[in-house]
Amino acid sequence: MERRRFVTVDGNEATANVAHMCNEVMAIYPITPSSGLGEMPDAWAAAGRKNIFGVVPHVAEMQSEAGAAGAVHGSLQGGAVTTTFTASQGLLLMIPNMFKIAGELSPAVFHVTARTVATHALSIFADHSDVMTCRTTGWGMLASGSVQEAQDLALISHAATLESRVPMIHFYDGFRTSHEVNKIEQVTEDDARQMIDMDLVAAHRRRAMNPRNPVLRGTAQNPDVFFQAREACNPYYEAAAGIVQKAMDKFAALTGRQYRLFDYVGDEDADRVVISMSSSIGVVEDTVKKLNAQGEKVGMIKVRLFRPFDTGALIAALPKTVRSIAVMDRTKEPGASGDPLYLDVVAAVTEQWGKINHGAPTPQIIGGRYGLGSKEFTPAMVNAVFRELAEDQPRLRFTLGINDDVSNLSLDYDESFTTEGDGVTRAVFYGLGSDGTVGANKNSVKIVGENTPLHAQGYFVYDSRKAGALTTSHLRFSPRPINSSYLVSCANFVACHQAHFPERLDMLSIAEPGATFLLNSSYGPDEVWDHLPVEMQREIIEKKLKFYVVNAYRVARDAKMGVRINTIMQTCFFKLSNILPEEEAIARIKDAIKKTYGKRGETVLQRNYAAGDGALGALHEVKVPSEASSKLHRLSPVPEAAPEFVKDVLGTIISNRGDELPVRAFEADGTFPTATTQYEKRSVALDIPIWDSEVCIQCGRCSLVCPHAAIRMKVIDPAKLDGAPEGFKTVESKGADYSGMKFRLQVFPDDCTGCGVCADVCPGKNKKVAGRKAINMENKLDHLEHEQANLDFFLELPDVDRTTVKIGTVKGSQLLRPLFEFSGACAGCGETPYVKLISQFFGDRMMVANATGCSSIYGGNLPCTPYAMNEHGHGPTWSNSLFEDCAEFGMGFRLAVDQQIDYAKMLLGKLSSELGDELIGAIVNNKQETEEEIARQRANVAELKNRLPKSKDPHAKNLLASADYLVRRSIWSFGGDGWAYDIGFGGLDHVFASGRDVNILVMDTEVYSNTGGQASKATPRGAVAKFAAAGKPSKKKDLGMMAMSYGNVFVGQIAMGANPVHAIKTILAAESFRGASLILAFSHCIGWGIDMTTGMNYQKEAVACGYWPLFTFDPRNEDRPFSLDSKQPKGDFKEFALKAHRFGMLARSKPDESERLLQLGQGDIDERWHYYQQLAAVEHGAGEASEEAAAASGNGGGNGEGKAKAEKEATK
């Protein structure tokens, strides 16, 4: 027998390990937080790891979860043991197939990281709204509450489904369990072989579809027989719970860990019991144990098997003495008589209590809701539930963990109640994503977990912003198993890995008295105190904290580690925490470094060693003065001048105190104001662009490419410059358009992320120092105060009159105010410059439908959001529907808007006598194609709205409500390639076919960026991505060509970095086209492994070598709609490709395969160019027949046929 070992892994790895062992086929699709579940088997399969059947499982990425479920269904019918992994909406997309799979009694397991289904907002965090939606599918449901259980119940579910033939959802809480790192005893392949009965596998194969023994499944049945046939499965469901228990027992015999369908913990004679499921069970159990120790007769039921719900087993597990029960649901079923688990318990008790517990009084049952969207659930809250159960008349429905001042459902609780035991190290680390804090802490958990008898837990909280992202690591080390599935709130070790955090963050409120505080600072032990804000000084003194400082920046620099201070801080932590003897700790850290970096070569290994070796010499204790004397104060999260909502709600969220906000703080429908990023000054850049006015040629490229709208230009009436701060430089505006005006370029120093793209593209060269340009990146601190003052004045200066701007030029476009600013996108993001540019053109009349993905996160993740407003309060209005339906969602906007235009025009007709033909004619006949026409329309509609309230005609009121639609709206669908090429392609295709005026921007990063770099059908051949670890073997889909095949779709392929004017003109042309428009925008991404500073130049090289040809297909140019707009490719694709890690890593790891794929890639380029060249020469629309055909194909379904044609004529 293989020996079991203790490993320290997260819930996903624990589960994936079992899934890999027990399955033959995995059809997968990425969705947070389950993506890792598929990625690991994919990587293992690529490395040749076999399953218990002795072969390497087949792992196939599909185009959506619906596709994955279909493939699973097919694979099961084909006789393979099959699984998939998903969460949230992904699981919902699988539901139709889940009905089929269960209906056909096919044994299968879906491992689900339970995640909130988006309602008023998207949330990537945990609750059970997804799995609870599957209750009617006929799937069994097993809930795991910890990392250990995630592994164990994964194996039990695979064993049980094979015997029961009831497919199983095995679920655990997203992030809380899926991403928690904990020490577990790992099952072995022998264990898996013992659990998986090969006779049952053979039986599964015998039932599979086989032409040698043909059968028919999936029939259509009529009312006469469907019902009876549906009931035929009942015996299987009756047997299923028993089979699961049998598998649990078998597992217990193997491993010693006994699970039951319902596990009872607590006093044998408990009068109060809490029933809960998944990660909450550890919290409840700890509380029960503490209360039992205090003599309270309380207990709990851990629900393992939620479906089929074995009512008898539940009642049998409950003590007869119980008088009141609280059932905890981690989901919300609005309008129901109770949430799902509660209702099941009520039914079970009502039905079975009397039968089993003869004579005992039936307990009262109340239902509580907790933990939606991963809201914290703590022992203090559980204690409050037991207090409530002790009441004579407890509240029948309640919520926990929030302050519900609207429905008054929430229970108050005593926050000081804790079950945290003695002898436990509780450490919290504040770091930046880029400094490696999380990785080091994961290693620390592993070091302790795998080298000491201690138990270890790590949980990591991330920022919703990607540039300058804050990470918080919560670690526990304990002699006892750690059930605490909630954040550390009482830390005995706090580390701040970045010196600037204390300026804004209160990180010591969680430190317990006498705790250790470690700060990374470039100030030494004698200087650092005076550089802390006074609030922090007070906490250090009052709590008598032991304060240490380390200059990790210097050690990292000396070790050539750049900004990665991970190993240094880790070494200091072990030194100060005394979890291990110092020498042993250092040896274990080196082992961990070798494990993590060993494969990367001696160079990398040595620099990490050097960093660790240098750490202790740079660590010093700080003598804490007796008084807080600092003149520095912690900065407020938003300025005093910010609007009330921003201060009260968003400011609270920014301060990490969002949990304190009551229900009343929020709009019930999820509506939020826009233009709020302007109030959050994150100041994450180290260097910022500084303008050299003498060298500047006023081209506007810096402003164009800035991903964060943090560098802008204005032409200024010299008369407005009175009162300018000293040093507020301006120069004469170049060119005739703004002759006599002044010009200034202004950096937004606290909003810049320091990516340096502006300086990289700047063509202005200093004649005296060739290395300097018109934009130079310089240390922010040298310029901050000065530029802040300049910015304040700059913002007061009026924007240029839009009607005077030549918007088709780079400079012209950049004189328009961006209505998308300071997003949380990655520094140097390749997507946001396009979004910003579009907002400059159309933002004040724009509606955005945004596919889920990076652009919905940087576009709409709280606390602050980047879509902004102009001086009139106009700006983009934005919404995210789903990942898959963005094109349709945008088309819905169009349908509504067009309908409202028709309605308003009809009403104008009815009011013509009152309003007069002149005004109505001016409104109706305005084509609204230029800025002047739009401005005139705005004025006329304003006049109309002025007049309407005075009218007594009943139509006037209705027209007033719809009058705004008369200003032409710009309808956009924004999304990435995962949406457009894969999951949303069907909808996109339909919008193309509709001919409706929807502008579709596909920001093609050639990979699923937001979920961490999984291959999409836009991923190029030869690039390495997740699910394409061996290099993508097939070529990129030509989405533009597909769209062009309709003939009536505008298609433009652009790359801002290669040809900004082409990008600008294509965007303008696409928007002006009154049919569907597709813009494929080349968007460099950190998922490519390039230097993001040079992203725009990378785009240039991509176009130059033919990798990304520029073109437009404009149906208005009837003779030659296709125009190939980039030059004949020059240079070698391979040379271009190998500059990016995504191609380069394959060239290293598999040089021959890389060579083969890159040669094919060159062939793809040559072939496509050859084809496009021919296409550019083709003359279209020669005959009547083809025109008719175009009309028929382009306007199918009668939706806007006449209009599209008429408008096409009009725009010629």
């Binding site: 880029s434 990785g439 990367r600 492994g1089 890593m1145 040089p1151």
Partner: protein, 335 residues
């Protein structure tokens, strides 16, 4: 009459004195085979650049880590490769494959900066099967505080350290910019160099007047560059206990003959092949053979060094006198 073309270089017995210099041509197995088929006696592989390895390994590691552990949804962006094939691994694998692919001696080459790196890589090359190692010393003393003797000491220390780490022969390729080349050559040999390769052709930075940037490109050698090597080989022949190789400016059989005459054990070519193709190897060898027959040389051994400074009729030509003679005999077009 058949002439004997065989020679000894670094203690290796070579079938003729034509060796392929370190250049990208030797970096592909198929090219290496063609060169051998053409008659090349040995090949020096392209240099393994220590800075390049350090840079690449760090860059790849950084790229793999870039942006990771920052966003809850994207904890990483790339799958973890099974094998990074970092450091000198790819190069060493190539040495092994080259050894299997051809039967001529393979001389691995190394260009590094740190003592640890040079010695470690040299040993790994030996382990991979290289017949000899060529140490390419390319050091630009940009710091005005660094003296000539500092530079010399550093070179000698490196040579000694590498020599200690390997048991295969060691060639040292240097540039001509030493104040006393002869003395330096002698000390290099004393420090452990089994052979000297004269001279290194440094890639010089250029200025791009359009982009106002610097650029660097490899310029192929021209025949006149042979003269510098000829002088020093002639001077060193018989004075230094090391093999001598000419590595710049041999473009034809006459060039190779000159190298041998002044005392080189081998002549190395690269630019000539870039200019005229792989056939050049056979052409030069045939030309040498034809010339030797015509001049009635029996063997390379016989002619080797017959015009060294010691042996030539006008030794002053290789010293300053040669310079003076050139000046007084020069008549420019304006006169």
């Amino acid at each position: 009459m058949n002439v004997q073309l065989s020679t000894r270089y670094l203690g290796l017995k070579l079938k003729n004195p034509l060796v392929i210099a370190s250049c990208p041509l030797t970096h592909k197995l198929d090219r290496l085979k063609r060169l051998e088929e053409g008659g090349a006696a040995a090949a020096v592989l392209p240099s393994l650049f220590e800075e390049q390895i350090v840079h690449d390994d760090n860059a790849i590691s950084d790229a793999q880590d870039f942006g990771t552990e920052s966003s809850a949804e994207a904890l990483t962006y790339f799958p973890e490769p099974q094998d990074y094939r970092t450091g000198p691994q790819v190069y060493l694998e190539y040495v092994e494959r080259a050894k299997k692919a051809v039967s001529m001696p393979i001389i691995a080459s190394i260009n590094g900066t740190s003592e640890g790196g040079w010695t470690r890589y040299a040993k790994l090359m030996e382990d991979a099967g290289a017949d000899a190692v060529e140490l390419n010393i390319y050091f630009v003393a940009t710091d005005p505080e660094t003296s000539g003797s500092d530079v010399e000491r550093q070179c000698l220390d490196l040579v000694a350290a590498v020599k200690q780490s390997v048991s295969i022969p060691l060639a040292v390729k240097v540039g001509p910019y030493f104040s006393a080349m002869g003395n330096m050559a002698k000390r290099l040999a004393e420090a452990g160099a089994d052979g000297l390769v004269l001279f290194n052709r440094f890639i010089q930075p250029d200025v791009d007047v359009e982009e106002l940037n610097t650029s660097s490109r490899l310029v192929l050698s021209s025949p006149h560059e042979l003269l510098l090597s000829l002088r020093w080989i002639a001077i060193l022949r018989g004075k230094v206990p090391a093999s001598l190789a000419v590595s710049s400016g041999i473009h034809d059989a006459a060039g190779l003959a000159k190298a041998l005459l002044v005392g080189a054990d081998v002549g190395m070519i690269a630019s000539a092949i870039y200019l005229d193709g792989f056939e050049k190897v056979a052409e030069i060898l045939a030309g040498l053979e034809e010339w030797m027959e015509r001049k009635e040389y029996e063997s390379v051994d016989q002619l080797k060094g017959s015009m060294s400074r010691e042996n030539c009729p006008d030794p002053a030509a290789f010293a300053r006198g040669n310079y003076m003679k050139a000046l007084v005999s020069y008549t420019g077009p304006a006169i």
